[in-house]
């Protein structure tokens, strides 16, 4: 096979090496002269080095001899330096890597030519006669652009600004620096790549960048600014510029990685195929892995280009997508790291090291047991001499005097819809027993209605009679006997009420025997739902009073935590959202000049006040809050933060962070920990204690969320536990 490779970067040159070894004819065309490159050092992990060793031992030996290795990460934060060990990494000067690869390719007989410009109007011209043309010409690939429609290329910019400097000192290890300034936070990602030099990337928000005047500075002034800002860490050494200008990082994705042009196949590799945010340091590794996979595919399917290219894409695309997800999480962390500046050093460091989801509490313990012990000790408020420290999830949480949760796990007893006239019975006892038997510190019920017409389904339990309260008293006693605490979710269903039990689907109106539905506006939940009545002052007074009565009954029944439900499209949530409360709800509040959110929150706040007054002062009161409608025009995460702050100020000690379902088709992506980012934001921007749930199935995930300060309690999904399929 005759292969033309466009681009003499790591992907192109390494592919030339591997394909020559397999006996293919290879030519490489690079636009720059030899030795000219941008950027400084590049990083490898131990894993990627093992791949190189297996693919071409000679190249591996030469690269290995030129590597700088380290196994620690220094985090400079709030005047402290925290060092985390056990992270095996290595780096090499980019120029050295390229020289070694070019030499090896030439030795193996590849035709490598530099200073060859690829014409944008006919980018295949230099590769006439090649069966396969590889677009390895980088993030701004000319070849990819020429066939962009067939590749389905997309570009996603991140919000931060960054600049790629060198430094004329070899830092001892990988180093993060967090440097707050009056203009905003600046952070550094830096690592040594030879005996005398380091890569030194500076990153900040666009606001900080503008505020510091960097948007109008030239290369020299911006270098001087950073030099001066990081002087304490440079110790007299210089930052170096090589066309080092501020940029916005762009994630490149391609739907297809290869296409057919005439009788030639064009395939993408390296940055032309994909980019992943620099904070996970994986660009070069992914490029070299592409080369390995592509060469392997032609070994496995000799003479069948279509099969080999399909295998290459099938092999690499899922791996790259996973890296891009991880990189996106990492980038998002750095975009929002300002919100953690109040953290103590240990949780700050833990949060940083676990930012992308690749490393959790368990994995970090394997790498660095000393740091994790320190993190856990601080979490448990244990003294410096303590060696025997509970993992974060086993650290008790004192919610109020006389109400300390034994651990940080919440388990829901699940939807039953089996109550008769609101009376909880045997099924509820069994479900709560099972939930308490999981060992969770807190068990939470399904929706419990404060009034008969506040029920979600005909089978929803309630708390509007003394008989109901007696039933709950028995259930609370059972949960206490099992060593857990009981949280009761007090829900008026609003416009989602009067439905069939949810065994065969949601929001199916009762065909007969329904009741009137209440909402802020007369908008049905689905096209098949009955139309609710807009609540007038009389209805509002009655429902508010019923909430108070139910809270009193719950208190008498021995319920430990009352959860006032303002989520999932139920009554109080429908007041909060502009999607369901389109006209400013309280004209009085509007007249006082309050904004829309404050006006819509007025009635839910009245209900909270009524419940707060009825519920014992010393007992914990939580709000399950819709913090994001996940639909354009609805509540945003910023609204969620504002609401959480407001509710906390009005007596809610705990916010259960929820999202979606305000309208029927607004949900989440349901990936692992899908609500964790939102809970993190609400907790740390509003300064409230937070409960998070949503595709959390492992205890290690709970420890990671807690130790990183992303939430205070985690609701574990029954998921596979419930199915008994747990290994």
């Amino acid at each position: 096979m005759r292969v033309g490779i466009c681009g003499g970067g790591p992907a192109g040159l390494y592919l030339a090496v591997l394909l020559r070894r397999a006996g293919h004819e290879v030519l490489v065309r690079e636009r720059n002269p030899p030795g000219v490159t941008y950027g400084w050092g590049v990083v490898f992990s131990d894993e990627s080095l093992a791949e190189l060793r297996d693919a071409d031992y000679e190249t591996y030996l030469q690269i290995d001899a030129a590597l700088v290795r380290w196994s620690s990460i220094d985090i400079h934060y709030a005047g402290e330096r925290i060092r985390s060990t056990g992270h095996g990494f290595a780096a090499i000067a980019r120029t050295t890597l390229l020289r070694l690869l070019a030499e090896r390719a030439a030795v193996l007989g590849a035709d490598v030519a530099f200073s060859v410009e690829v014409p944008a109007d006919d980018p295949l011209a230099p590769f006439a006669g090649c069966d396969l043309v590889v677009a390895a010409d980088g993030v701004r690939s000319v070849l990819r652009s020429a066939f962009a429609g067939q590749f389905g290329t997309t570009f996603t910019p991140t919000a931060s600004k960054y600049v790629w400097f060198g430094a004329d000192l070899a830092l001892p290890v990988f180093t993060f620096i967090f440097s707050p300034t009056p203009q905003g936070l600046f952070q550094v990602h830096s690592y040594p790549y030879d005996a005398h030099r380091s890569t030194f990337i500076v990153e900040c928000s666009e606001a900080a960048w503008r505020s510091a005047g960097l948007d109008t500075m030239g290369e020299a002034d911006s270098l001087a600014f950073c030099q001066s800002l990081f002087e304490p860490y440079l110790g007299g050494h210089r930052l170096l510029s090589n066309e080092s200008v501020w940029r916005t990082f762009v994630t490149v994705r391609n739907r297809a990685w290869h296409c057919r042009v005439g009788d030639q196949d064009v395939v993408l590799a390296g940055d032309a195929a994909h980019t992943a945010h620099f904070s996970i340091g994986s660009g070069t590794r992914l490029a070299l892995d592409d080369a390995i996979a592509l060469a392997k595919a032609f070994v496995a399917a000799p003479g069948d280009r279509a099969a080999a290219l399909a295998a290459y894409e099938g092999d690499r695309q899922p791996v790259v997508e996973r890296f891009q997800e991880v990189a996106t999480d990492s980038a998002r962390y750095f975009e929002s790291v300002s919100r953690y500046l109040g953290f103590a050093a240990e949780p700050f460091a833990f949060n940083l090291l676990t930012r992308s989801g690749r490393i959790g509490h368990l994995n970090l313990t394997a790498r660095d047991p000393v740091l994790v012990n320190r993190v856990d000790r601080r979490f448990a408020a244990a003294g410096p001499g303590r060696l025997v420290v509970p993992a974060p999830l086993f650290t008790p949480l004192p919610l109020a005097a006389g109400c300390t949760l034994a651990n940080r796990v919440v388990v829901a007893s699940g939807t039953l819809d089996e109550a008769v006239d609101g009376l909880a019975g045997e099924a509820h006892a069994a479900a709560l027993d099972a939930a308490a038997a999981t060992g969770a510190g807190l068990v939470v019920t399904e929706e419990v209605a404060p009034t008969a017409d506040g029920r979600v389904t005909i089978g929803s339990p309630g708390l509007w009679t003394d008989e109901h309260a007696e039933a709950w008293a028995k259930l609370a006693a059972r949960v206490h006997e099992a060593g857990s605490k009981l949280a009761l979710r007090l829900t008026h269903a609003g416009r989602r009420g009067a439905t069939l039990p949810r065994g065969r689907g949601l929001d199916r109106p009762l065909p007969a025997g329904g009741w009137r539905l209440l909402a802020p506006a007369p908008l049905p939940y689905t096209a098949r739902s009955r139309r609710p009545e807009a609540m007038g002052p009389g209805a509002r007074d009655a429902v508010r009073a019923a909430y108070g009565d139910a809270a009193r009954r719950a208190a008498d029944a021995g319920v430990d935590v009352l959860v006032l439900d303002m989520a999932d499209g139920y009554l109080l949530a429908s007041f909060l959202s502009p999607l369901t409360n389109p006209v400013s709800d309280s004209t009085a509040a509007a007249a006082e000049g309050a904004d829309g959110l404050e006006a819509r929150a007025a009635y839910p706040l009245e209900v909270l006040a009524a419940v707060r007054a009825a519920w014992p002062a010393g007992r914990p009161l939580a709000v399950r809050l819709v913090c994001d409608d996940r639909l354009a025009g609805g509540l945003t995460a910023g609204d969620g933060v504002a609401l959480a702050r407001r509710l906390a100020g009005a007596g809610a000690g705990l916010i259960d962070v929820a999202a979606g379902h305000t309208v029927p088709e607004a949900g989440a992506d349901y990936r692992r920990l899908f609500n964790a980012g939102l809970a993190d934001r609400v907790r740390n921007e509003a300064g409230v204690a937070a409960v998070v749930g949503g595709h959390i199935t492992r205890l290690d995930e709970v420890n990671t969320i807690l130790a990183g300060g992303r939430a205070d309690l985690c609701r574990l999904d029954p998921g596979r536990y419930q199915r008994g399929a747990l290994p």
């Binding site: 290219l309 399909a310 949810r502 949601l506 029927p664 088709e665 349901y670 998921g719």
Partner: protein, 282 residues
């Protein structure tokens, strides 16, 4: 985990799939074999026997196996028509129908049916809700064999699809791929189920193509069937289970991922496929 097998309704040798004797013979032999269900796929603009007609033929000559659509394209059929057909098949088969419904991936099917490609997600949600009501009611079609109608599985890979399965379905049907892909989708289906407040847990169904009689013809069929996806067709072909070992590994992987039923769809109509598959599973 239960194992089902597909009916050859669009597979080579062309023509054989559409002849009654061959189809019902396949169904009879599946019923006599170790299979829990007979599955069919759906495509309008292709040489493909209608899925519900094929299942009706199979229903007439079987008594035990479940009959399942893997999947049927919802929005190209009016809700009342699909509900009545499904209720009829459920009634005729003594309650053996499981209806997997999804969007499909081809605009040409929508064009041919005069259905709107835009807004198809919402249309499918409405259709699922409408079918439930029809099966509970007394105005459209026959009463299904069981109260509430056949089990309803919903497919798709987006957050919206997982939510749709949780809002309207009895479970989730995956579109095929390696066990790892199924496991990821199954986890998300469960997470959506819990998030939506459904009681219990969703049924989880998977599917894979196999050909043990003539893998080359099977791969060629998949390349042709999936040609509309471009380069992806090659990947589908690469995923064909073409040996007893590949079948057994796939079965083990799906079982571990918590699949309730894996339906193995034939990629050729060669009558020996069934025996070879039964041997591979033995």
């Amino acid at each position: 985990m239960r194992i089902g097998v597909g009916l050859p309704t669009s597979t080579p040798p062309l023509g054989a799939a559409h002849r009654g004797p061959e189809l019902v013979d396949w169904a009879r032999r599946a019923e006599a074999g170790p299979f829990a269900s007979l599955g069919v796929t759906d495509r309008l603009v292709y040489d493909c026997t209608d899925p519900l007609v094929a299942l009706a033929a199979a229903a007439a000559v079987t008594e035990r196996v479940r009959l399942v659509t893997m999947i049927i394209i919802g929005p190209v059929r009016p809700a009342a028509v699909l509900a009545a057909q499904a209720a009829s098949l459920d009634a005729l088969s003594g309650g053996r129908l499981t209806l997997g419904v999804s969007l499909g991936a081809r605009p040409d099917d929508y064009d041919a049916a005069g259905a709107a490609w835009r807004g198809r997600g919402r249309a499918l949600s409405d259709e699922l809700a409408a079918m439930r009501d029809i099966w509970d009611g007394t105005t459209v079609g026959p009463r299904p064999a069981r109260p509430g109608g056949p089990a309803l599985l919903v497919g798709g890979g987006s957050g919206a699809a997982f939510l749709r399965a949780a809002r309207y379905g009895d479970g989730y049907v995956h579109g095929g791929g390696p066990p790892r892909a199924f496991a990821g989708a199954a986890d998300r289906a469960r997470a959506a189920w819990v998030d939506a407040g459904r009681p219990g847990a969703p049924q989880l169904w998977g599917q894979s193509y196999f050909s043990l009689a003539d893998p080359e013809a099977g791969a060629a069929y998949l390349r042709h069937y999936y040609a509309f996806t471009g380069p992806f067709a090659e990947r589908v072909a690469a995923g064909l289970l073409d040996s007893p070992k590949a079948v057994r590994e796939q079965v083990a992987g799906y079982a571990e991922a918590g699949c309730d039923e894996l339906v193995l769809l034939p990629a050729t109509s060669d009558p020996s496929e069934l025996d070879r598959l039964a041997d591979a599973l033995a």
